[in-house]
């Protein structure tokens, strides 16, 4: 067992022992750590909650093929021990040894992509990640890569141009040259489990699922952390002292995505980014939700297990997983159980998960022909926003175009994710025509009495919930013009 963590920074191994380091604790964020150094002040804080991207850094992760995968993340959400075994790249590392700017930096200068410059290091790092992952990216890919970065000065156009201009060298740069060296460094870092103990905190990073559930059994009060995109806010915003943590972010067993004929089993710890390809192929409604989930920086960290773990009434994954009839796998020392996801949530931020259990996988059955699942998200801003209302719908029609089975699952309409049961009952057996929908819409008021909050009022939520049903009908029947128009 190790009592310190090690990562690569500035092409060198850095080892940190929280017990003796003074100002660094196990829950110090990567942002605060980097800004605490005299040499990495380029990493900026704009919000400390994952919404602005000023703190973006790129993590290099060792792949199976001895190459490095580069991922942009918000350093304000990354707890320092999550860096163990990884390479951390900040804006200061982008110039070559000879002092030349990296192609993405050069392009930003040329296009006037910076004004006040405060957002710029974050954009540069998102762009660097894009540079390493995509050659000649499309505008949509560029925008997706930059959605997690806010700029208040430029209006973004020159930044998009800079990305288009620079990401054209097949990812080659001085990092490519130095990769073999970094791979060696990363391989030299021990994979043993880690326990970081200070006077008031215990941070455990088990090396296997078995160890994780054993630890959870021993420490029922410990908080599980995976992507930390939710948990980190308790530290950065509420200034809570998290005394015990079990970090499952690095468990490869939790990241497996296994496809079978029946469906797909997705490890609870797989990042949402890693899920996107299989979702795009098999579960389009899940995929469409993922495309408007947070930002790339968030999706590179966040996990499905974590999203269910929050049990948030406005979480985006639950409604669509319910509509797909997914099942959750829970594991403890007592063994494994699988429960239908619609029974998993029991109340406001309450679930069936016992305190000694870990969510290990989510199983999504493939759809039989004839069944349609669609999902919709309404938020004040289309991207990087939390749902005001979201809806995921499942429909099966019989030969007479009559409703054989239907699920209308809503988030943001009640204290938990909830189905519009009155509406569903009404629709059952009715012909799937506009008149039916129009008659069903008012029933939504029987199903829900949503709250007013910072995002929207009761009336708007009710109107939105009704409209989504109409939208679903329109899309299933082709009565709407193509949604493609919106992604122009």
């Amino acid at each position: 067992m190790q009592t310190s963590i090690t990562f690569v920074l500035d092409d060198k191994l850095q080892t940190i022992d929280c017990a003796s380091s003074g100002w660094i604790t196990p829950t110090t964020t990567a942002l605060n750590y980097l800004r605490g150094l005299p040499t990495h002040k380029g990493v900026k804080e704009g919000c400390a909650e994952g919404d602005c991207g000023a703190c973006t850094v790129v993590l290099g992760e060792l792949g199976n093929d001895r190459t490095i995968r580069y991922k942009s993340v918000d350093a304000c959400l990354v707890l320092l021990p999550m860096l163990h075994g990884k390479q951390v790249i900040t804006v200061e590392n982008l110039r070559t040894d000879r002092g030349e700017l990296h192609p993405v930096q050069d392009a930003m200068v040329e296009t006037n992509g910076s004004q006040c410059g405060y957002c710029t290091p974050g954009f540069i790092m998102s762009m660097f990640s894009l540079y390493k992952n995509r050659d000649h990216p499309s505008r949509a890919e560029i925008e997706d890569a930059l959605t997690g970065n806010l700029c208040r000065c430029t209006g973004y156009k020159p930044i998009v141009e800079a990305a288009a201009k620079s990401c054209v060298h097949r990812g080659l740069d001085h990092f490519s040259e130095r990769e073999p060296h970094v791979v060696e460094l990363l391989e030299s870092i021990s994979k043993e489990s880690i326990h970081l103990r200070t006077s008031n905190q215990l941070y455990m990073k088990p090396a296997s699922v078995q160890e994780a559930i054993t630890l959870k059994h021993q420490h029922a009060d410990a908080i599980i952390v995976c992507g930390a995109t939710d948990v980190a806010l308790r530290i950065t915003k509420k200034h809570e002292l998290l005394e015990k943590i079990i970090d499952v972010s690095d468990l490869s067993e939790l990241k497996t995505i296994a496809e079978s004929e029946a469906g797909v089993s997705i490890g609870a710890g797989a990042s949402l980014s890693d899920i996107m390809p299989v979702a795009e192929k098999n579960f389009p409604a899940l995929y469409s939700m993922l495309t408007v989930f947070g930002s790339q920086q968030i999706r590179n960290l966040a996990s499905l297990g974590g999203n269910l773990g929050t049990a948030s009434p406005i979480g985006d994954m639950l409604p669509v997983l319910i509509a797909y009839h997914a099942r959750v796998t829970l594991e403890s020392l007592d063994g494994r159980r699988e429960i239908p996801i619609n029974t998993f949530i029991t109340g406001y931020r309450k679930t069936l998960r016992r305190s000694d259990e870990l969510i290990t996988a989510i199983v999504i059955p493939n759809l039989n022909g004839g069944i349609v699942v669609r999902s919709y998200k309404i938020s004040k801003r289309k991207d990087l926003d939390i749902s005001t209302v979201n809806g995921s719908f499942r429909l099966e029609l019989d030969g007479n175009q009559e409703v054989k089975a239907i699920m209308l699952v809503y988030g943001g309409m009640a204290e938990r994710v909830k189905q519009a049961e009155t509406c569903e009952r009404f629709l059952l057996g009715k012909r799937w025509v506009r008149k039916t929908i129009e008659n069903a819409m008012p029933l939504m008021e029987k199903d829900f009495s949503p709250i007013s909050d910072a995002r929207a009022g009761t009336e708007m939520r009710t109107v939105a919930a009704k409209n989504l049903l109409m939208k679903f009908w329109g899309e299933t029947t082709g009565a709407l013009i193509d949604n493609q128009l919106l992604s122009m």
């Binding site: 200068v109 405060y118 959605t147 209006g155 973004y156 926003d385 939105a464 128009l485």
Partner: protein, 781 residues
């Protein structure tokens, strides 16, 4: 002049090497400062106990109002803002105590141990309530021409209505921050992210009871400001200075994002009422506006902002009989403050709404109504406050933009699209901007500079303006290099420093380059004249019969040359040591004040503006009427910056301003709860535009061949005016909503047009249509 150069700090920005206040390396004596603020919107502070907080290990200081050595005040114009509350708090976020400790955690632990006993009073949290109770922050004012009431009676058509425009949070990426380092004796060095270093200096001096000459304020750059650091950077600076004074250690306060959003003021929300009279053709005959703004708990710049709103309530339109009344109300919210546009957007939103309504009423294209009412070139060219509009570019811009944007074709295709789509609607709008350039408080239109030439020929330019991303230092560097005929790399623009250039105005009102550029030019003219005199002597030493006269000396190509005898030349690098030997003073101060302006606030009459900046935008949106989500399909902008000093920077200002305006018009919504707590206090709930919200097709151009007389290198100010181009996006959304009912009804509309506003407006229109159908049915029977 070299025009298309990147921002002088661009390479530093992209490499993370640009130093902001929070990045300045300080020794390990640095303490972290924290402000503890009121949790009540209005309450008496009955008692408090700091003793437990003071005991927290690592805490060096916990202060309250009693510990202030000087004047407990930080009001910029009116002295109505107490630095630390005494016995009453008037908004959530008002500072009461200050803490300095070795770590942030210690500060937070200490804060948790502070006990305060409040006695809550009634809090006024809405503009409606403040209006109802007539809680004015100061006297109302009116600007008026003609007899509006009788003109309204005579007008063939009249309309009246009400418009709400929302508050807006600045959301500079760098939150408020200040670092203070004690000097010897009473000296204090202040590194503040402020647009107004001289005011920051003055307030700190008064607060500490010391002379301004003991306080040095320096600003290298800000990470965005947009008006939010014009007066309200002073607060953080004052708090930091107090802690520094009390602990005799370096202290830094950087507001956490949520605290920044809760504590600082926003763009003023307005509730405006209007009544207009017009003829069958849509020509405006008269208008009567009543503008009401929410000033918040203190005056700050509210009256200057209201004044600018009143001076822009005409926007680009000539209205023969016109009266605008403005009132600023007091509420128990943080004092609202400057924000790019400074009241202009709120004033323009009213008249643009009026035009839009007139067009719908007359079933005409709003573009047609707009051009019909533009100020004329020769006649109908005097504003309601008596300034004659010279160099009117409205028609020139309109004609070019209507053509380049293919407005009329697109109007047709929008109509066709709307006729064949039920669930998606398109909207199109063109709106103009005419924006007056100058501080309306006329004496503020002054600037100073100090230009230094060192013996190696390198040049350091100091001026009173601050760099917040707008590219001011780049433009100044260009101007200085061009005026001295030297290459850019010879010129460095220094961090703004109150000990170099004193008694400056805020970098605001878009006038930074206009004023400081001229002051720098003035200093350089002085230097050039001294140099020319001595160089003429030096050149003449060898040519007694055919001497060089000072007037023929020119500065070009890094050389000083006798233009009559071009072989008499010396390189700049060689000349400077020579001039030093000849005892020529190689530094000079420069000064500038804007000529020929004057404005009588009391009468509401005069020439407040040196000139006007013009621009226009055409925006097309696609609206999903089931979700209320809009996409900006295309935006075309044509904007007038005179002869651009730097096209890259100017286009950046235009595009950035437009998008910031789009935010104000669409997704940026400020909400307070019924206790006066800001509900939208973080980017989680407060949504500024992201990269995906910009127009799918975004075309920006600068108007060509229109040098501006009597300004630095014939340029025009840019910063603020483009923000208001976004009203075209707002009205395009309204146009799309209106299409739901085939433009038969006036949609309910306010600003911002969030998806909530949009969906509810559509619901209302649907009801209107149903009622009309039922009505028609009844009538037929």
């Amino acid at each position: 002049m070299e025009n298309n150069i990147p921002h002088e700090s661009a390479a530093k920005h992209v490499s993370g090497e640009a130093v902001y206040v929070d990045d300045i390396l300080v020794n390990d004596q640095l303490l972290v400062g924290r402000v503890v603020y009121s949790s009540h919107a209005h309450a008496k502070v009955k008692s408090f106990d700091l003793s437990q907080a003071k005991k927290v290990p690592g805490v060096h200081m916990v202060m309250c109002f009693q510990d202030i050595p000087g004047h407990n005040q930080m009001g910029p114009v009116v002295k109505d803002e107490i630095c630390l509350a005494i016995d009453e708090v008037t908004f959530v976020g008002q500072a009461i105590f200050l803490i300095a400790a070795e770590t942030e955690e210690q500060c937070i632990n200490a804060e948790r141990l502070i006990k305060v006993e409040y006695e809550p009073f009634e809090a006024i949290l809405t503009l409606e309530k403040a209006i109802e109770k007539n809680l004015l922050l100061g006297p109302p004012s009116t600007i008026k021409r003609g007899d509006v009431d009788s003109a309204l009676k005579k007008a063939p058509h009249t309309l009246r209505g009400e418009l709400r425009t929302g508050a807006q949070e600045h959301w500079y990426l760098e939150s408020q921050v200040c670092l203070c380092i004690p000097g010897e004796g009473r000296e204090i060095n202040v590194y503040s992210s402020t647009q107004h270093p001289s005011e920051t200096q003055a307030l700190i001096a008064e607060l500490l009871g010391i002379g301004k000459h003991e306080v040095i304020v320096e600003v290298r750059r800000m990470g965005g400001a947009f008006g939010g650091k014009e007066t309200q950077a002073n607060h953080t600076a004052c708090w930091t200075a107090l802690l520094c004074w009390a602990t005799k250690r370096p202290v830094k306060i950087r507001l956490f994002r949520d605290d920044d959003m809760k504590i600082t003021g926003k763009r003023h929300r307005f509730l405006s009422k209007y009544e207009v009279g017009f003829d069958d053709e849509g020509k405006l005959l008269t208008a009567k506006f009543e503008l009401n703004s929410d000033g918040g708990a203190a005056v700050d710049l509210s009256f200057a902002i209201m004044q600018r709103a009143m001076l822009h309530a005409d926007n680009a339109y000539y209205i023969p009989d016109f009266s605008v009344m403005g009132r600023v109300f007091k509420t128990n919210l943080p004092s609202n403050t400057a924000f790019r546009g400074f009241g202009g957007p709120q004033g323009m939103a009213v008249i643009e709404t009026v035009i839009d309504r007139v067009a719908r009423y007359l079933k005409k294209d709003p573009a047609e109504i707009r051009v019909k009412n533009f100020y004329g070139l020769e006649s109908n060219n005097v504003t309601h406050y008596g300034e004659t509009i010279e160099n009117n570019r409205l028609f020139m811009i309109y004609e070019q933009l209507i053509t380049s944007s293919e407005y009329h074709n697109r109007r047709r295709s929008v109509n066709e699209f709307n006729a064949s789509n039920e669930f998606f609607k398109k909207g199109l709008a063109i709106t103009p901007v005419k924006f007056g350039i100058s501080f309306t408080t006329s004496f503020l239109n002054q600037a100073g500079a100090l230009v230094i030439i060192y013996k190696d020929g390198s040049i350091l330019v100091n001026h009173g303006g601050t760099e917040m991303g707008q590219g001011l230092h780049t433009k100044i560097q260009q101007v200085a290099a061009a005026e001295l005929g030297v290459s850019l790399d010879r010129v460095k623009v220094n961090a703004t420093n109150t000990s170099k250039v004193p008694n400056t105005s805020a970098t605001a009102a878009s006038a930074g380059a206009d004023l400081n550029g001229m002051a720098v030019k003035n200093a350089i003219d002085i230097l050039k004249s001294r140099i020319a005199e001595t160089m003429a002597h030096i050149f003449s030493e060898q040519y007694h019969d055919d001497p060089t006269f000072r007037d023929s000396i020119v500065f070009e190509n890094d050389s000083i040359i006798d233009s009559k005898h071009p072989n008499r030349r010396v390189s700049f690098t060689e000349a400077i040591p020579l001039l030093h030997l000849h005892q020529v003073p190689l530094s000079a101060t420069g000064f500038y004040k804007t000529p020929n302006i004057g404005w009588d606030k009391q009468k509401g009459f005069g020439k407040p503006f040196h000139y006007y900046a013009f621009g226009m935008a055409v925006t097309e949106v696609l609206l999903d009427i089931l979700t209320g989500h809009h996409t900006i399909v295309r935006t075309d902008i044509l904007h007038d910056v005179g002869d651009s000093l730097n096209e890259g920077i100017d286009i950046g200002q235009v595009e950035g301003g437009y998008i910031q305006g789009v935010g104000w018009c669409t997704t940026e919504e400020i909400k307070w709860d019924d206790k006066g707590n800001l509900m939208t206090h973080s980017p989680d709930t407060y949504k500024i535009p992201s990269v995906q919200d910009i127009p799918r097709d975004f075309r920006t151009a600068l108007l060509r061949g229109v040098p501006n007389p009597d300004t630095i290198r014939k340029s025009k100010a840019v910063a603020e005016p483009p923000l208001m181009l976004a009203l075209s996006c707002w009205l395009a959304i309204k146009d799309a909503i209106s299409a739901v009912a085939n433009h038969q009804f006036e949609p309910e509309f306010s600003l911002p047009a969030t998806n909530e506003v949009i969906l509810l407006s559509i619901e209302k229109l649907k009801k209107n249509m149903e009622e009309r159908i039922t009505l028609d049915f009844v009538v037929q029977r």
